[in-house]
């Protein structure tokens, strides 16, 4: 409350004296009255030290810079110091400065032609200089005033180098200088974590590491910590190289092994000497790369969730001899203990911790009824034991938690430092308001870290980063909200909808980041609600949004995260949503057109960033318009108004050609303008794709559906994907079936087949609902729908044949894989779960789960037939959720159902080849 008042005072001061605008807001600002004075030529005198020199560099003066010689501040000038030094003490006395006794805090006084910037520590002084930079107007003048300020959260943000900042170095002759400029911008936002140095690893050559050392030391001088992710692996092979001994391969390694496309990790808990050697290799790397005082998160084996954390069941005989099944915590404590000791010995200033596995504190909210002994052992007891047996300075890392979870975890781990990441949201838009919840990680007397990860998936979204800075520097920032443990990122509220963020914070961010001239245009762009990633992949995005709405910690890369969030309403992808994107894109194009002239004088980093918008906006518009037309066309086709659909689509085709021409010409004209889009970036949904989609819809509109007679072979179209391929392999066994993978579900494509199997969910929803139903109802086709496609809300599918399957309300586990045929005989499903089906009025149950829940239902719709199957044509590995790799075919009940479906649709009897 106190701090909120302080910020309120600041705002009052701003209003009364037209005081400077700060981003992030400062805790206290007091206008001193009197005349503004010119600082543009004042000499800058600073104390020695990298951060203080960097601070001096931030001061917007072209006066001489020098280190203080005698500890005295004499005459006019800008003086930069730390509070504990004589020089700092002198400045504090002279200006009656009360320097906050908080890490990274500072005080500023500007009056009578003199400016004093005194930090509680060197980094505080640097932040003071950054703030002072915002006090100075374009003309180099400053209003007399005082500032006292400090951050509430000491470790803020986590700007990705690999995914973001490096893009500012592409194409530059001096890549190092370009990267440093980008780091300057991070520092100016008062964010202090960077991550993802993808180009290097402990396997990198020394020369490469020394290049990066200069970068990380430069960042550290500006208060920025490298946040690196180490590993408990004993050996590692990655893109940079390998330290795996000869003869060790995934096949020969006896203990746990993790393979990803970019590397192999070899784990074992039983060999302390190897663990020590690996820790030393990692310490060497940190030292050589300049990350010796970074934030080091040691990643354990990633997998198995609480059922088999870290794949503990797969550990080797030596591990088993040393640790029994219930002693994973002992093994971890031993291993983390070794790593911590080595790293803190060799890199004493590093902050060391781990996302100890499973790293989802949210899972503490698992319902009481589901808390098995294994669950307790794997999570609460494991964390408790590690807390008791690891050094108190070893931090634990997890996803951000709501207050309720925080209370629970603090019962187990009362005082340890936590490193919280946001929920890894996959934002579809450009500016995201969700980081207004960042300060949830703040706890009194803690040094918790907030590591955002979501914003950097494709780019550094500077304004979003500024919002993080705003909410972490000031936990009580006006827009700040507590994360309630539910949806962290929500497309409905986070790209245009949060009132405070969009009416107060964003305009301020734009003014401070872009300058007053460009700010209005950029504010329009950023608040437009445009969602480029949604435009690129509407069904994928909507699916993700709804997954997040169901499970706040949903991570597409991990299927096992969980939380106790109550499901909230699902987002339905409508024509109106796409129409809104067209309007948003139009707004962006217009705003950016108007802003281009004003962007000439932008510094390099911002100019590149600006140009990214300018290059993309016309593609956003072209894409949104094309997609909207396709949706309209498909909707009309579904309604049987094919002629109207064809007219709309024909006109849309012409328009799309023109729109993409404009976008391509714009892109070409800006070819020499550097951007932050990445090397040779091209908008993925270009002219050809858009026209192809329009043509597909057009071909659907032109199809006159008529029933067909099955020929010599039953022609079966199957959608791509693993289950589709498996189904094709199975149907290829029959002499009178010709199965093909369909490239699309356009009506013209569907109409080629006697029946189709639709297995995946990547279709445009309008096309799916319109074409699939029309094909059956009017074209007398047969459609087999797999899994949630019968109509599962969670997967954003409404029942396409409600008369056959009224709903598919839930996904059920079925690890026994037992099922029953219609006649009551037993059968086995290939996969370990299924979607329960509720038969509609015309639905006939074909098979059920062992408990009688319908899992396959068929029936007639119009002239055709539908067959809905809740289980998947996927092969489970050893009764687990893992899917078999390689060329598997259908078996058991799945095979029978596929055969029955084709026979049901076609009236033909399938005969195997060679019979």
């Amino acid at each position: 409350m106190k701090a909120r008042l302080a910020i309120g005072t600041t705002i009052l001061a701003l209003a009364a004296f037209a005081a400077p605008e700060f981003q992030p807001c400062v805790k206290e600002y007091r206008a001193l009255g009197g005349r503004e004075f010119d600082v543009s030529t004042l000499p800058v005198v600073h104390e020695s030290g990298e951060s203080l020199a960097a601070a001096a560099g931030e001061v917007p003066s072209c006066g001489e810079r020098s280190e203080v010689a005698d500890g005295k501040a004499e005459g006019k000038g800008i003086f930069v110091a730390v509070a504990a030094s004589d020089f700092g003490k002198g400045l504090a006395r002279r200006f009656s400065l009360s320097v906050p006794e908080k890490p990274q805090g500072y005080a500023i006084a500007a009056k009578d032609g003199v400016v004093a910037i005194v930090g509680s520590d060197p980094v505080g002084a640097f932040y003071g200089a950054v703030t002072f930079r915002q006090m100075v107007s374009n003309g180099g003048k400053v209003e007399p005033g005082q500032v006292r300020d400090w951050p509430d959260i000491l470790y803020r943000g986590n700007v990705s180098i690999g995914r973001g900042l490096m893009r500012y170095a592409y194409g530059e002759k001096d890549r190092k200088a370009a990267l440093k400029s980008a780091i300057d911008e991070v520092a100016r936002l008062k964010l202090n974590m960077v991550c993802d140095p993808f180009l290097i690893s402990p396997n990198s050559p020394d020369k490469e590491l020394s290049w990066w050392r200069e970068i990380f030391r430069y960042a550290r001088a500006r208060g920025i910590y490298a946040n690196d992710y180490g590993s408990t692996a004993l050996y590692l092979r990655d893109n940079a190289g390998s330290n795996v001994p000869t003869g060790v391969t995934p096949k020969t390694w006896p203990c746990v092994h993790d393979h990803r496309p970019w590397g192999d990790w070899y784990y074992c808990w039983s060999d302390d000497a190897l663990a020590e050697a690996a820790a030393n290799r990692y310490a060497d790397y940190l030292l050589k790369a300049g990350m010796e005082d970074g934030i080091i998160v040691i990643h354990p084996v990633d997998g198995g969730f609480w059922q088999d954390p870290e794949m503990w069941s797969r550990r080797c005989a030596k591990c088993r001899a040393r640790w029994n099944d219930h002693e994973r915590w002992k093994a971890s404590a031993n291993q983390f203990g070794i790593l911590f000791r080595v790293l803190k010995t060799r890199c004493p200033r590093a902050l060391v911790g781990s996302c100890i596995y499973p790293y989802t504190f949210n899972a503490l909210m698992t319902p009481e009824s589901e808390r098995s002994e294994k669950w307790k052992e794997s999570m609460p007891e494991y964390w408790l034991n590690l807390d008791r047996n690891l050094d108190k300075d070893f931090f634990f890392s997890s996803w951000i938690c709501g207050d309720a979870v925080m209370r629970e975890i603090r019962k187990l781990i009362p005082s340890r430092q936590f490193h919280f990441s946001d929920t890894y949201p996959q934002s579809a838009g450009i500016f995201e308001a969700y980081h207004r919840k960042a300060a949830t990680v703040w706890e009194a007397d803690s040094a918790n870290m907030f590591s955002n990860q979501g914003s950097e998936i494709l780019r550094v979204q500077w304004e979003s980063m500024a919002l993080i800075a705003d909410c972490t520097w000031n936990k009580d920032a006006p827009e700040s909200e507590r994360f309630d443990g539910g949806t962290y990122y929500d497309c409905e509220t986070d790209h245009a909808g949060n009132t405070v963020v969009f009416t107060e914070t964003l305009p301020r961010i734009c003014r401070t980041f872009w300058g007053r001239e460009l700010a209005p245009a950029m504010e329009q762009v950023l608040a437009s609600g445009i969602m480029p990633d949604y435009l690129l992949n509407p069904p994928g995005r909507v699916s993700y949004w709804n997954n997040v709405r169901r499970n706040a910690t949903f991570d597409p890369l991990l299927s096992d995260a969980t939380s106790a969030q109550k499901p909230v309403g699902q987002i339905v992808d409508t024509l109106e949503r796409m129409a809104a994107q067209v309007m948003a894109a139009e707004k962006c194009v217009a705003a950016l057109d108007a802003a281009r002239e004003k962007a000439e004088s932008l510094p390099a980093v911002k100019r590149r960033y600006f140009m990214s918008f300018v290059k993309m906006a016309t593609y956003w518009l072209a894409t949104a318009k094309a997609r909207l037309a396709v949706r309209r066309g498909n909707a009309l086709v579904g309604a049987g108004r094919s002629k109207e659909a064809a007219a709309i689509l024909e006109s849309a085709r012409t328009e799309a050609e023109r729109d993409y021409e404009v976008a391509d010409v714009n892109m070409k004209a800006l070819a020499n303008e550097k951007d932050a889009l990445g090397f040779r970036y091209a908008w993925p949904y270009g002219r050809d794709k858009a026209l192809a989609e329009i043509d597909r819809a057009l071909s659907s509109a032109r199809v006159v559906l008529k029933p067909r007679r099955v020929g010599r072979v039953v022609k079966v179209g199957i959608t791509a994907g693993e289950s589709g391929e498996a189904t094709k392999r199975y149907l290829d066994r029959f002499v009178n079936v010709k199965a093909e993978i369909m490239p699309s579900i356009s009506l013209s494509e569907l109409d080629k087949y006697d029946c189709v199997f639709v297995m995946d969910r990547k279709w445009d929803k309008d096309e799916f609902y319109a074409n699939i139903r029309a094909y059956v109802e009017r074209g007398a086709g047969g459609v087999y729908l797999e899994g949630p496609l019968a109509g599962n809300r969670r997967f954003d599918v409404r029942p396409v044949f409600p008369e056959i399957v009224a709903a598919s309300p839930k996904q059920c586990e079925n690890f026994t894989q037992k099922a029953k045929r219609r006649d009551g005989s037993e059968a086995k499903t290939m996969y370990v779960d299924y979607f329960a089906l509720v038969p509609g009025n015309a639905g006939e149950v074909v098979a059920t789960a062992a408990d009688g829940t319908p899992l396959a239902v068929k029936g007639e719709v119009g002239l055709g037939k539908a067959f809905c199957c809740g289980t998947f044509n996927l092969e489970a590995v050893a009764g687990s959720y893992d899917i078999a790799k390689g060329e598997f075919s259908l078996s058991g009940l799945n095979a029978e159902l596929a055969k029955e479906a084709v026979e049901y649709f076609s009236g033909a009897k399938l005969v195997e080849k060679g019979e």
């Binding site: 006159v704 008529k706 007679r709 010599r712 080629k752 009236g907 009897k909 005969v911």
Partner: protein, 374 residues
């Protein structure tokens, strides 16, 4: 002696199944290696049961019902010229059964009589044969039966014939799959009022033989490959052959080995990539044969007749080497013949639906379409 046999049979039944008041029920596996006779009390073979015929083993049902559902029938040998199963006077109901290699004559060893070459005979009574699969077996033969329903069965590699109907009234033969029959897949002799519909004949030597059948309706059947689609022998009249598809039949879609009876109509059939459309030979009926609204495409000869008259209005011939061959005194009148591209949707993939601009649309006798689709 009879008493001893009865006691023995009772013991056998007690071991193999159980005897209910009305019928004997078989579950599990049964070896039939000697003749078994069920009179008055029927036999019911339950789902999952397996019946294996050996040696002289056969089942005779007299004036009783025979019901089999979801059972398997096999044979490890051939019982030459005798039925493995014969039902007379009772009702037969066989559903979802699998019949493998139950033969009653040596395959490929000369012609066997249709009746005596069958492994199964039903004489009189009613019969329902639904959803069964017959693989490599001899024929199922019905004689003088009524209420015969043969539906949704598979007859694969039938030996000599798949189904034979002798003197059967109003039989329904619907949606069966006949594939790779060595002889005549479906044989009808003196059947009356048959409804033969939506069956598929693939690579059968002869798809269907119609011998002296009257007032039957053959519609929506498909014939793929093989030597002959439908063969006629002897006079049978008032039959309608409509909307049948013949594709890649090497010989004739329709062939008359003997003269047909009166008032046979062929309408809306489609012949594609065949040797002949209609090979009618010598027809003697004073009443003309009517061929209307048929489409013949990519075929050697459309209509060939050596004697008699044919009315063939509103037929389409596209890429037919010789649309009509009328020898000697024979006459074929072909008013409103269409010879332009029929614009089928995708004939190479067997899709003969008409494109919106097809000349066959509304070009039929009564303003309907020529070809399969109305």
């Amino acid at each position: 002696m009879t008493r001893t046999l009865a006691i023995m049979l009772a013991v056998v039944f007690a071991v193999m199944g159980f005897v209910s008041a009305d019928e004997t029920v078989w579950i599990g596996e049964h070896i039939v290696d000697q003749p078994l006779r069920f009179a008055r009390k029927g036999l019911s073979v339950r789902p999952g049961a397996k019946v294996v015929f050996r040696g002289e083993g056969r089942i005779t049902i007299e004036n009783a019902s025979f019901v089999a559902d979801g059972a398997a029938f096999e044979s490890d040998g051939i019982l030459t010229n005798a039925f493995r199963i014969s039902v007379s006077g009772g009702k037969m109901d066989m559903t979802r059964c699998r019949v493998s290699c139950v033969r009653s004559h040596e395959p490929s060893k000369g012609k066997a009589h249709y009746i005596f070459g069958a492994f199964w005979s039903q004489y009189g009574g009613g019969s329902r044969l639904v959803g069964n699969e017959f693989r490599g077996s001899s024929a199922v033969t019905y004689a003088n039966a009524t209420g015969v329903e043969v539906r949704d069965n598979l007859f694969l590699r039938s030996d000599r014939a798949g189904v034979c109907l002798f003197h059967v009234v109003n039989p329904v033969v619907v949606r069966n799959e006949f594939m790779k029959s060595v002889g005549d897949a479906l044989y009808l002799n003196a059947a009356e009022g048959a409804d033969v519909r939506e069956n598929r004949f693939t690579d059968c030597a002869v798809g269907m033989v119609n011998m002296s059948c009257c007032r039957c309706r053959f519609s929506g059947n498909s014939f793929f490959g093989g030597a002959t689609g439908i063969a006629f022998r002897w006079a049978g009249g008032e039959n309608l052959y409509s909307a049948n598809l013949f594709e890649d039949v090497k010989g004739s879609a329709f062939t008359a080995i003997e003269a047909m009876g009166a008032d046979n109509v062929f309408a809306n059939n489609l012949v594609s990539r065949c040797g002949y459309g209609w090979s009618l030979g010598k027809q003697k009926s004073k009443r003309r044969i009517v061929l209307r609204d048929n489409a013949v495409s990519e075929t050697g000869t459309g209509i060939s007749i050596a004697e008699g008259e044919v009315d063939a209005p509103n037929n389409a011939f596209w890429k037919v080497r010789t649309p009509v061959v009328a020898k000697g005194e024979a006459k074929v009148s072909t008013p409103k013949m269409v010879t332009s591209d029929p614009l089928f949707k995708d004939p190479s993939r067997g899709d003969y639906r008409l494109n919106p601009d097809s000349p066959l649309l509304n070009a039929g006798v009564n303003g309907g379409n020529i070809g399969l689709y109305q």
